[in-house]
């Protein structure tokens, strides 16, 4: 069975990125140290190598950033939309020009395969800026009345799974609508946001329109609690989302929350099986399953369950786990030691509760944070692994007999961000999609994003929509 050709390593060169030993905060168009000199390190999750030290913004720093944003808001919101569009187009083009560099930087800092950062993340980042650049001078025609107004200063906190893409989802519509922003990237993945700050300078964006304050949870809390922040936008865990909701309850602040998910991927017996298998793999192993809309619960019709699982296992065996910078890598590193231990804890719970575990065999790199693609069978709704968001490359498999049962099981979750339906019958796909309580329902595909398409959750997956015209509404006083 020896393979006449094994793929030789094909690593993308990291020479294209230039990482400074230390970074400050980006406030009012310039980099500055944190007031109290706080620092933390960001590491490459694939090697545990320290990449850089970043400043930890305290309350005083957040205050400076919000003041800068407030000052800039006056002139930025007064600019004609076409002028704001000009800056956004410029940023979009600069992102395209620096696409390779940004992709490498993202993969180094996050641990995701270069194939994904290069082919998915960065092109989508540019696409979002292009999309909202197009809206900037058409706000009066967006369907929100003749004269929608910007809200003011947006305080934005984003996660580590799609660092630059989540920045784009938040910054692009905010700026298009005439708002200014203070953004806090995740503490484990700040590097592309800091590089983005430099791109803003290169684009000649007026000072204070975009401010980047790095740091961990405390910095985020300070930003969200700041009295002069008009609009809060957060993507991250449901626990933090609830804390944010409590913090701003009773204030005048607007809020959108994009939280966790536990998406069902429903495969009917009349599905195109080969593509369904590809879609299941894409749904749960894209970005190592560290995706809030990951298709982590496979619901497969009992009559095809055995055959589908055999195909799925065969397909997973072709996945390459390893160096994120290798162009042939399919599954990269887990973003942090903390996340890895959460995955391990939930997988152990799955085993303890009697579900049957299958993991991709093969040696994982000695250093860094790794978890092999894993499938649990014999899972029921009562299992913790079927209820809690694992946020890792772990798929649970359940079966169903009728469409009604599939929908019932799919909806029997605290979350409602996304879902997938696989069938060759259009009417059945629509019947199912109409009954699924999820913000996005993909049919015969999974994890596809487009700047024109709104994205957001039901139930504990949060509220508000990002993307498209709907995403614009969250940044407008309508």
């Amino acid at each position: 069975m020896g393979n006449p050709f094994e793929y030789a390593p094909a690593p993308e060169s990291r020479a294209i990125v230039d990482i400074a030993p230390a970074y400050g905060l980006f406030i009012d168009g310039a980099f500055a140290e944190a007031t109290d000199g706080g620092r933390l390190k960001t590491v490459n999750p694939a090697t545990e190598e320290v990449l850089a030290e970043i400043a930890v913004g305290g309350e005083a720093d957040v205050d400076r950033a919000v003041k800068a944003a407030r000052k800039a808001f006056k002139s930025w919101s007064a600019l004609p939309g076409a002028q704001r569009a000009k800056y956004l187009f410029r940023i979009a083009r600069l992102i395209q020009e620096h696409a390779r560099e940004l992709a490498v930087l993202e993969s180094i800092d996050n641990g995701k395969p270069i194939r994904e950062s290069r082919d998915v993340d960065i092109p989508l980042v540019a696409a979002h800026f292009f999309h909202y650049a197009g809206w900037a001078d058409k706000l009066a025609h967006a369907g929100f009345g003749p004269d929608p107004r910007p809200i003011g200063v947006a305080g934005q906190v984003i996660p580590w799974n799609f660092p630059l893409l989540m920045l784009a989802w938040k910054v692009a519509p905010a700026l298009a609508g005439g708002n200014t922003v203070v953004l806090k990237p995740a503490e484990t993945t700040p590097l592309t946001a800091l590089r983005f700050a430099e791109i803003c300078v290169e684009a000649g964006l007026p000072n204070g329109v975009v401010n980047i304050v790095t740091g961990a949870g405390e910095t985020g809390r300070a930003l969200i609690a700041h009295p002069d922040v008009d609009k809060v936008a957060f993507t991250g865990s449901t626990a933090v989302g609830k804390e944010i909701a409590r913090t701003i309850a009773g204030t005048r602040k607007r809020v959108t929350l994009e939280l966790g998910g536990k998406a069902a991927n429903i495969v009917y017996d009349d599905a195109a099986i080969d593509s369904a298998v590809d879609g299941i793999v894409e749904g749960i192993f894209f970005n190592g399953g560290q995706v809030c809309c990951a298709g982590s619960r496979l619901l497969v019709q009992e009559s095809v369950a055995d055959e589908l699982l055999a195909s799925l296992t065969r397909r997973i065996k072709t996945l390459r786990v390893g160096d994120p910078l290798d162009k042939n890598t399919d599954v990269g590193a887990i973003n942090s030691a903390a996340q890895l231990s959460r995955i391990q804890e939930l997988v152990a719970a799955g085993e303890a509760e009697g579900a049957e575990r299958w993991s991709l065999a093969g040696e994982l790199p000695g250093k860094g944070f790794w978890f092999p693609p894993t499938v649990f069978t014999g899972v029921t709704q009562a299992h913790r692994i079927a209820r809690d968001e694992i946020f890792g490359p772990v798929l649970t498999v359940q079966t169903f007999r009728t469409p009604a049962e599939a929908v019932e099981k799919a909806n029997n979750t605290a979350y409602g961000l996304s879902a997938g339906v696989w069938t060759e019958k259009g009417a059945k796909a629509l019947w199912t999609a109409q009954r699924l309580r999820a913000g996005v329902v993909w049919t015969n595909t999974f994890n596809k994003f487009d700047p024109a398409s709104p994205f957001g959750g039901y139930k504990e997956s949060g509220f508000g929509r990002e993307g498209g015209r709907h995403g614009l509404e969250a940044y407008l006083d309508v």
Binding site: M1, P4, A8, P9, A271, A272, A276, N328, N444
Partner: protein, 324 residues
């Protein structure tokens, strides 16, 4: 998946209705998903040692083809010489699997190739249109087999297939397969049968999957994409669907069938994409000239140039490989 739907091959081919029921009961092919998968696999990066191995493998898989109306015995002889010595400057260069010619040139090719191990494949059955009476088609096959063809590349009757007359297509392949038998005087055995689906004319991936199963049920040793004579020939997604079909067919019946994309595969880069497709869809069992072929005429020279570049570190150019 297929084991459940193909309990008894004899039963599903027992009548027109049973055959139709079976072929239309195969799992559908999602166009978007299939094309996305093929496009993703096309981004695999093949470098250094893997590339050296892959180039030699691709050379061994080539059916070096000339199917022009203007073909002459002389042209076929030089093509055979090329197969025997692909790169005169590098004697370690492997030989392609076969020479593929029209039936009337089989004897010429056989004589030129001798017992070198390079096979002679002949296109038959009123290639490329397939529009002739069954008697004519079978005579075409018998003629090529008698002339010594090791492999027969037949075309299916696309008109019958598109009209839903699956049984006619099936019967014709069965008859051609029978005509591939060599008589005892010629050493017995049977020429290998490659069935050309002409996927460009079948137009949907569902049709490609059905035609693949139909050909395999009828006894094809290989299924082949195209004649190279229509607007759309081999593509990666079509080949992906055919690879899935042979994989599922083997799982259902235990019989392994080969795959041959043909037409339009010109560069080393293209060839690498096909090998990756094989590697990740059906695995190493098919990474062998016995089970995967590339129907091509100009691909060999590009592979040879890439081979020279890997060996010397320099790209020498088209004058350093032979034109025919």
């Amino acid at each position: 998946m297929p084991s459940a739907i193909l309990a008894d091959p004899a039963e599903v081919t027992s009548s027109e209705a049973a055959l139709r029921r079976f072929l239309h009961g195969l799992p559908g092919v999602d166009r978007v998903g299939t094309e996305a998968r093929a496009a993703m696999l096309a981004t695999r990066s093949i470098k250094t040692d893997a590339k050296v191995a892959a180039i030699d493998l691709a050379i061994r898989m080539i059916d070096l083809t000339t199917l022009e109306g203007a073909d002459t015995p002389g042209k076929v002889r030089s093509l055979c010489a090329k197969a025997l010595h692909p790169d005169p400057g590098a004697p370690d260069t492997p030989r392609p699997a076969a020479i593929c010619v029209y039936g009337d040139l089989v004897a010429e090719a056989k004589a030129a190739l001798g017992d070198s191990g390079v096979h002679v494949a002949a296109v038959a059955t009123a290639f490329p249109s397939g529009r002739a009476s069954l008697d004519v088609k079978l005579a075409d096959v018998a003629y090529a087999v008698a002339a010594g063809a090791d492999e027969i590349d037949m075309v299916i009757d696309r008109g019958a297939f598109l009209a839903g007359r699956y049984r006619d297509v099936f019967d014709e392949i069965v008859a051609v397969k029978a005509a591939c038998a060599r008589d005892e005087a010629a050493g017995g055995g049977s020429a290998h049968l490659k069935v050309i689906l002409e996927t460009g004319e079948l137009s949907t991936y569902d049709n490609v999957r059905r035609a693949s199963w139909l050909a395999m049920l009828a006894g094809a040793d290989f299924i082949k994409t195209s004649t190279g004579k229509v607007a759309v020939n081999a593509t990666l997604p079509v080949t992906l669907v055919m690879l899935q079909a042979v994989r599922d067919f083997r799982e259902a019946t235990g019989r392994q069938v080969g795959v041959k994309p043909a037409g339009g595969i010109r560069t080393t880069k293209d060839a690498m994409k096909y090998l990756v497709l094989v590697n990740e869809t059906v695995g190493s069992d098919w990474l062998d000239p016995d089970w995967f072929r590339l129907g091509a005429s100009s691909l060999l020279n590009d592979l040879l140039m890439q081979r020279q570049k890997l060996a010397t570190g320099r790209y020498s150019g088209p004058d350093y490989v032979t034109v025919d």
